[in-house]
Symmetry: C2
């Protein structure tokens, strides 16, 4: 089950205090094979040069993170969001990232049904641009704790259904164990996602009980209660051969020495499948 | 849609700083028709006398809260939990509460599947005692944010399926908008719950975005993003004619004057269906 570190990717947000050059230098030195680049790290950078710098360090660029945030009660804001997602597609193409992760968004000022409809319409509007740019879009279902303001897509079933309905080779699903581990239909929906060829990305971290912060208290693999091994097995069984992406938001870990933290990440990953 | 206050009940935990006598006095004075009694308020009380005191104030006792917390990696703890739930059934019978709300529990040290199996086995073990005592048990699906440590039953579908499988007139489901509002299958599962005669209780409050605390930052009705009116309509359509139960956990509101807070509760309820 264990894949070599060369098949493991880290999201730049995981070591948030580091700039992109530091992320690339240290991830590569420690033997990780890929990076998912968060857009904030590209500010004031030439994006093509940054892509080259990453590849020159031997890292694969797994994805650009993140697009989405589509729904709004304001038509103007919805249009702005589509424009920003086109910009993200341009950035991904310039960087050489094959995929953008979509955090779909939600507006607490309207019903979830309304937000869900707007998400679908917005992704549909982006498909031609994504196709032309050869950039894939991965709908990431977010944990229901974020249904109020971050995503109205909260289960694998919803993401699979939407990807199927949109029926484009550039639209698929990103599975993050943090968001979906609780779902009683998870095994079935991962299998289904594979059957419809929509499993585009796989993210890992852990869920600590007694969260101190709803957003930024995620755990290192093994530190919480997610059955990551089991979920990885379901994902691998579909034939998914992509990177295992480590993505951790943590005020706790961001406040420590990031080299020590990277060592913890590495050992927690290596212990995971033992 | 609006039901009179005489058909609205408050959970004693909502005004946590008050003892049971204060809750009863003030809820009754403000015209509310019922109370759901949390077990902590019965400590050092004669339970039968307390039940009489509540009824003498013209309040209906809607439920005793709460039983459950069944799963554990320890067999001894599972047995202790069954014993404690039998005690809760005794208390409900003595108090004159027709129903116990079950927060089913979860143990982060084992898989959700394991916890779910133990929950089912434990409820099954309690059925004869509940039948003999004429006390109903309502499985309350809890929001997936609590899947790690408070309940492995996280959707209406799971609660309905389990209530159906257990196939006893004393086992049903408690619907709390806070826990289920995000669920894309909610309308269908509420209808189904009604069709199988398992809709035993209905709780309301609101979900504020940007939670400051995962447990104790619930909102007054109208303060958040839950479409309570819509959900109430689905519940009423099933033929459910029970109390609407207000249950709010809030460090914010517990720290204010509880009479002022009760006025807020009353006006937020009265504004809800306008």
């Amino acid at each position: 089950m264990q894949v070599p570190l060369s098949h493991v990717c880290i999201h730049s947000i995981t070591t948030k205090p580091w700039n992109i050059e530091q992320c690339v230098h240290h991830y590569s030195r420690e033997g990780f094979g890929g990076i998912s680049v968060w857009r904030n790290t590209l500010e004031n950078r030439n994006i093509q040069d940054t892509g080259k710098m990453i590849r020159d360090h031997g890292l694969e660029i797994t994805s650009l993170v993140r697009g989405g945030f589509f729904p709004s009660v304001s038509l103007e804001k919805r249009q702005k969001s589509i424009d920003d997602n086109r910009k993200a597609i341009d950035e991904a193409a310039a960087l050489g990232a094959p995929l953008i992760v979509l955090v779909c968004g939600a507006d607490p000022g309207q019903s979830l049904e309304m937000s869900r409809g707007q998400i679908k319409d917005s992704i549909e509007a982006l498909i031609p641009y994504a196709l032309a740019s050869n950039v894939k879009l991965a709908i990431e279902p977010l944990h229901p704790v974020y249904a109020g303001d971050r995503s109205a897509i909260n289960t694998m079933k919803q993401a699979n259904d939407m990807a199927l309905d949109l029926d484009s080779p550039v639209v698929g699903v990103a599975v993050d164990v943090y968001h979906v581990w609780w779902d009683p239909d998870l095994e079935y929906e991962i299998k289904r996602c594979g059957n419809i060829n929509k499993l585009f990305a796989y993210h890992i971290c852990d869920w600590k009980t007694g969260l101190s912060d709803v957003l930024n208290d995620r755990g290192l693999m093994g530190e919480g209660c997610i059955n990551i091994k089991q979920i990885t097995e379901w994902v691998r069984k579909t034939g998914f051969s992509g990177m295992e992406e480590i993505e951790i938001f943590s005020n706790l870990y961001w406040s420590m020495d990031q080299n020590e933290y990277l060592n913890k990440i590495k050992s927690s990953y290596l212990n995971l499948y033992k």
